[in-house]
């Protein structure tokens, strides 16, 4: 028999990890957001005691997210980019994951390795490669001209919404495929066989069995890529750097990167975290509900 405390103790490394690498840093961000700024060096001066926090800045910044106010446009643009990027990623990733899970028998491991392969190259390098490809005299435009598709192709890097959305998809899609493969792999094949034996067509089986049972993988993949996309600032910088494609992460970066208002950057981070925690709450609710349905 093992002592009862042993099982709780096993959670200790994970709890420690969370406290050191999430709770404390996030508390520091909050302390900066509700803190002050050094009058000479303009460094943030965090206020650790919550009773002394100053909420004026936060109220003012929250008000700026209302329609027509300062952060409204960039917030809507960010959300729109991410909605498109996540939806298209899902449309691409699901068939890929489905194929790997169901049809790639001997090549399954190879395909999974190929999916992970992009992680071996840094995100920055992958994006820079695309900057080269999308440049005015890059391969894409050279091909368009050579093939006669477009005699005067656009400057893809000149501030196009589509380029930023495409770059987001390219950068994050591997994170979408992997949870989908895992979710599809977990579906009991006998359930699919039962559906077919009971007269469902392949299409009906997919929509009534496979798709509902892979819902957790879909949600998990969406969450995994949505969260970092909201904080992303380097992707629009690399493939556009135009104000017309700026995202909320760029505003956070601007205020943190220098100048007299790091507290504004921290407050924007907190506001974004609150918004994302609402999305996370929905995800957790869905997980709980799905598990209950399965029981």
């Amino acid at each position: 028999m093992y002592p009862r405390w042993l099982w709780k103790a096993l959670a200790f490394p994970g709890v420690l990890w969370l406290v050191l690498l999430f709770v404390l840093p996030f508390y520091a961000v909050i302390a900066v957001a509700f803190g002050t700024v050094d009058p000479i060096f303009q460094n943030p001066v965090p206020i650790w005691n919550p009773f002394n926090w100053n909420f004026d800045n936060t109220r003012e910044i929250l008000a700026q997210f209302l329609p027509g106010r300062r952060y409204w446009t960039v917030f809507v643009r960010t959300t729109t980019y991410i909605a498109f990027a996540v939806s298209i990623s899902l449309l691409i990733a699901y068939p890929v994951a489905y194929y790997i899970s169901r049809h790639a028998r001997r090549t399954k491991v190879l395909l999974l390795v190929l999916l992970v392969l992009p992680f071996w190259v840094s995100y920055l390098m992958r994006m820079l490669a695309w900057v080269g490809l999308l440049a005015p005299d890059g391969f894409i435009n050279s091909f368009l001209i050579w093939s006669g598709i477009d005699e005067s192709p656009p400057n893809w890097l000149g501030g196009h919404d589509g380029t930023v959305i495409y770059a987001l998809i390219y950068g994050y899609i591997p994170y979408m495929v992997l949870p989908l493969v895992a979710a599809l792999d977990r579906i009991d094949k006998s359930l699919i066989e039962a559906a077919r034996d009971l007269g469902m067509t392949a299409r009906q089986t997919f929509f009534r069995v496979t798709l509902p049972m892979s819902k957790m993988g879909i949600l998990g993949g969406c969450v995994i890529i949505t969260l970092p996309m909201f904080g992303d600032y380097y992707t629009p910088n690399l493939v556009s750097s135009s104000p017309s494609t700026s995202m909320l992460g760029n505003q956070i970066y601007l205020y943190f990167h220098g100048g007299p208002q790091p507290d504004v950057g921290a407050t924007l981070t907190v506001v974004l975290a609150i918004f994302l925690s609402i999305l996370m709450a929905y995800y957790l609710y869905s997980v709980a509900k799905a598990q209950k349905d399965l029981q």
Binding site: G158, Q251, L254, P260
Partner: protein, 429 residues
């Protein structure tokens, strides 16, 4: 005005300063002590007067302007004359890619020390790292607009000119005692540069130098949409819009001027969708941008290092505003208080101001001109260092007169206004 009247005026102003310090929680005695300790009341009459009318910078120090020089208070004493250089590792703090490695190696060989370079991404990071003791460095690059801040924070030590004969021997006389640091108490100059318009002569049809208002090219650049750019800098981008309107006070804190500049910048998004970045030193040559607000070193770097095969140098052009109508700035070197090798730091300053080293650093790597007497546009053209059509990239001593436009320190409120306006511009709202 008689001397007596002048004294009375100063005393009244001094009273004003004391009153202000009292309002910030100091007793009258503490306030007077602080003024005396900083030497401000005695030696720095411009400081006193500016503080009195409200243009305080960090720590209540005065805000230097080209026509309003400032003598910074001494934070301690300079090192003594004639000390021997230290041994060990000497650390230089600078932007990445803003110093020719060979210059570092030569210095190490000359004084038999290891030399290492520690870098920062921007001046904010530089000051933060110095202030938080996040780095251990012996000499640092610094820009004049940060000098008030780092002096108020006592991050620099005064320099001893006896170790730096090249300052008087080789540097432009205008920078022997610059307005931002009278008597060169803390700094020696490093590089000087203007802000103008870099453009592709083979892509832009307008004759920019002969336009009535060349800055207005951006507001008429519809056909170059996607190929235009402004500098990723709050001061430079908002300054561009101010110059477009003919406003030459680039240190203004007038909300109306800043709002107008913001509206003009926002209009650019629909007109030419400019990119906001700092890649102009290569993208003009690469054809990724055709019209980009540029520093004067950028066209030279385009021509020297990034020109594709088959493309001629005259495709890269640079328009520099007439004297007093466009920004000009310079970078400096200074010795941090934390320096463990202050003698070597002084010798470094002398090393970088050696005419041969300064020229080598400029033409072999940085593209940014040192303010050295022997570096003249004509000489650089004659020896084939720069193409004739880019002589506008080279500044001359007279460009740094009291009517020159230089981005300098703002008050905290001013900085907030400029940053907020810039944030609104780059948000594309």
């Amino acid at each position: 005005m008689s001397e007596e009247n002048n004294d009375n005026g100063q005393n009244k102003t001094l009273d004003g300063v004391v009153d202000r310090l009292e309002k910030h929680g100091m007793s009258r005695r503490q306030a007077l002590k602080a003024i005396i300790a900083s030497g401000l009341g005695v030696t720095v009459s411009p400081l006193v007067s500016r503080v009195a009318w409200g243009a305080e910078g960090p720590g209540g120090l005065p805000l230097a302007r080209p026509g309003e020089p400032v003598t910074l208070p001494m934070n301690g004493s300079p090192i003594a004359d004639g000390l021997k250089p230290e041994s060990g590792t000497f650390t230089v703090f600078n932007y990445a890619d803003y110093l020719y490695k060979s210059i570092l190696d030569d210095f190490g060989a000359k004084y038999d020390v290891d030399v290492q370079l520690t870098t920062f991404a921007n001046m904010d990071q530089c000051v933060t790292k110095l202030a938080n003791n996040d780095v251990e460095v012996d000499v640092t690059e610094i820009t004049p607009d940060r000098l008030t801040q780092v002096t108020a924070g006592k991050l620099l030590q005064p320099i001893n000119h006896s170790y730096i004969p090249n300052l008087e021997k080789n540097v432009w006389p205008e920078l022997h005692s610059p307005f931002y640091d009278r008597e060169s108490r803390y700094t020696v100059p490093y590089a000087v540069y203007t802000t103008g318009i870099g453009y592709r002569g083979d892509k832009i049809s307008e004759d920019i130098p002969n336009m009535d208002n060349p800055w207005s090219i951006y507001w008429n650049a519809q056909e170059y949409a996607g190929y235009t750019g402004v500098l990723n800098s709050p001061r430079e981008s908002i300054g561009l819009a101010m110059l477009y309107r003919g406003k030459t006070n680039l240190n203004t804190e007038n909300p109306d001027d800043i709002d107008q500049a913001l509206e003009d910048l926002k209009a650019l998004v629909d007109i030419c969708n400019p990119q906001v970045n700092l890649t102009q030193y290569q993208t003009l040559a690469q054809g990724k941008s055709w019209l980009h607000q540029s520093w004067s070193g950028d066209p030279l770097m385009n021509v020297w290092w990034y020109l594709p095969e088959g493309q001629t140098a005259d495709s890269i052009q640079y328009w520099k505003a007439p004297r007093g109508m466009g920004p000009i700035q310079n970078d400096c070197w200074a010795v941090p208080q934390m320096s463990q090798k202050p003698v070597l730091a002084h010798l470094w300053m002398n090393h970088i101001l050696d005419s041969k080293n300064a020229l080598s650093n400029f033409v072999n790597f940085t593209g940014y001109q040192p303010p050295i007497n022997s570096v003249t546009p004509q000489k650089l053209i004659d020896d084939g260092t720069i193409p004739k059509h880019l002589s506008s990239c080279i500044s001359e001593p007279e460009d740094l007169g009291p009517d020159s436009l230089q981005y300098m320190t703002l008050t905290s409120e001013g900085q907030r206004m400029w940053q907020d306006a810039y944030a609104r511009f780059v948000s594309g709202a």
